[in-house]
């Protein structure tokens, strides 16, 4: 009989996190204090983070011990199972072997509590009495509320007003776990009050919610702040995923030729792929691919090119694309993975060619989500569908090439509170808005005489 799921016994759960900073070909540039221009010091961050997390943020140690108290809580759902997607393989008639790591089995249904638990723990042992954070649709807010309840830590979440009103289920999850959820902008902070004075109906923004959560942490007694993505210590905590997966792949008798994950802030993708990045740095031949949304057809259809912001090629890549009457520098595609919300670790690994990035249109992602749900059963979060869509592309490519490729992807969470997005897809609302290729062609004709960026790359439309 075929083995569908590979479980690890709890005794095999990793006892240490893997810190890729010890092995990165190019060390991370230290972030600079915008006020002084000097590298950010632990002191700069100590107002909102406990010292153990700041130490992890800058640590160069390859392995960092996971405290027993943290392991005990993570074992509520970890190790998570690794699945072989036999039904999807059969449906696609592909020779590829497809594996997926199911991170949707945590109580909140996503990968977020894998870092929320250690963050709450380190706050607890450092004397923190309450933690603040911000959230958009609520995945992080619910993950942190769950972790807060496990350690008896009060959690207060500033949720963007428009999300607070439109996404009640995650807000209710936070409240079920005892988290206090406040709509942002709120009257509880100076930042919030200033906005509400100008616009009492302000729908809020992530930037606003972060301002409120940070202000509440700095001005509150023994209050700290937690962030669910981007920072190095978040990536570190998520590496238990990849470390488990390496053991599970060994049990399966396979090693991935390709690893795929959806990359927003980068933490779910990082968690799965960083231990394999270590293998790649050591010489293994693996294609590691982060997938992000491509809402803009210029990413895939218009001419664009990348360039560095300085002659030493040390800054993030900038994409220069030319739809319109001027060159418009915008953070798109691989460049887009370097915007405000992307983890510096992932960005640097892309620059060093350890990881590469692709983007994918939303209709293809929902098509993939449906195929996955109808073959493997699980209804994926819309973000997770990006990874699934790329897996399907690659599996079909393997079929064309007749290659028995091993593809691993991170199934980062379920979509059971995102069913309205599926309703839109099923009712044809998403398909109604096809890309205006003629419009793009006209725009390109307008800009044809303009100078091209250095690394000009022709698009698919013109």
């Amino acid at each position: 009989m075929q083995t569908k799921k590979i479980f690890l016994p709890e005794s095999e759960f990793p006892r240490q996190w893997y810190n890729i900073q010890a092995d990165m070909p190019t060390p991370l540039e230290p972030p600079l204090n915008p006020g002084t221009g000097e590298p950010i010091s632990p002191d700069d961050l100590s107002a909102i983070f406990p010292m153990p997390l700041i130490e992890q943020e800058v640590s160069q140690e390859r392995w960092i011990d996971i405290p027993e108290e943290v392991i005990e809580k993570l074992l509520i759902w970890r190790p998570t199972p690794l699945y072989r997607a036999y039904n999807l393989e059969k449906y696609l008639e592909t020779p590829a072997k497809i594996y997926f790591k199911n991170e949707g089995v945590s109580p909140p249904g996503s990968h977020k509590p894998t870092t929320a638990i250690p963050q709450v723990y380190y706050n607890k042992i450092s004397g923190t009495k309450a933690i603040t954070t911000e959230t958009g649709a609520g995945q992080w807010g619910s993950g942190l509320s769950f972790a807060g309840k496990l350690f008896g830590m009060p959690i207060k979440v500033w949720m963007v007003r428009i999300s607070y009103d439109q996404k009640p289920y995650r807000r209710l999850m936070m409240e079920v776990w005892g988290g206090k959820c406040v709509a942002s902008p709120s009257t509880e902070t100076n930042a919030g009050r200033a906005v509400l004075e100008k616009d009492p109906d302000c729908p809020g923004s992530l930037g606003m919610a972060i301002s409120e959560a940070v202000e509440a942490a700095v001005t509150g007694d023994n209050t700290k702040y937690a962030l669910g993505s981007v920072l190095n210590h978040v990536m570190l905590h998520q590496t238990v995923n990849g470390l488990e997966t390496q053991k599970q792949m060994a049990i399966a008798g396979d090693y991935p030729d390709m690893i795929i994950g959806c990359a927003g802030g980068g933490s779910n993708f990082a968690g799965n792929c960083l231990p394999f990045c270590r293998d790649k740095i050591a010489g293994k031949d693996i294609d590691i691919l982060g997938v992000e949304p491509a809402s803009c057809p210029t990413m895939t259809m218009a001419p664009f090119a990348y360039d560095f912001g300085d002659t030493a090629a040390t800054t993030p890549l900038l994409a220069m694309h030319t739809l319109g009457h001027n060159f418009i520098p915008a953070p798109i595609h691989a460049g887009g993975l370097r915007y405000h919300g992307m983890a510096p670790i992932i960005s640097q690994l892309i620059l060093d060619n350890i990881i590469r990035a692709e983007n994918i249109q939303q209709i293809e992602t929902f098509e993939a989500g449906l195929i996955f749900a109808r073959t493997e059963g699980f209804i994926s979060a819309p973000e997770t569908n990006h990874a699934t869509a790329m897996v399907i592309r690659e599996a079909l490519k393997a079929k064309e090439e007749g290659k028995e490729k091993v593809i691993l992807f991170n199934w980062s969470g379920h979509g059971l509170v995102d069913m309205m997005a599926y309703q839109d897809y099923l009712s044809g609302k998403l398909a109604d808005h096809a890309i205006d290729e003629e419009g793009i062609k006209n725009a390109l004709r307008d800009i044809a005489p303009l100078p091209k960026p250095k690394q000009f790359k022709i698009g698919k439309v013109d």
Binding site: L32, S163, T189, E215, T219, H340
Partner: protein
């Protein structure tokens, strides 16, 4: 002469990659303290001539602030928020 560009109606919504749910264009057009979200061009290009719309609506200065300013790394923006909050705390004392 430019023809006026009209954005989609309020009941037309697309998924916001930052918030993780559907929103209408009016939100994206003023998400950043009254200026457009920096992703608005990418997200809405498919649905209407959003470049032209903002070119018509925004001053050159606001366009640059919204779409061409260098994105600050997250940790640096957090340090700025901490400094701002420390001032709030000092004023309270």
């Amino acid at each position: 002469m430019n023809n006026a560009v009209n954005p989609p109606e309020e009941d037309f919504q697309i998924r916001c990659p930052r918030l993780g749910h559907k929103i209408s264009f009016s939100y994206c057009s003023k998400e950043n303290n009254g200026l457009p979200c920096y992703k608005a061009l990418d997200c809405w290009y498919t649905y209407f001539p959003v470049y032209e719309f903002f070119r018509q609506k925004l001053t050159e200065e606001d366009w640059k602030k919204a779409f061409e300013s260098k994105m600050q790394p997250k940790v640096e923006s957090i340090v700025e928020l901490i400094e701002r909050a420390k001032k709030v705390k000092a004023e309270k004392l």
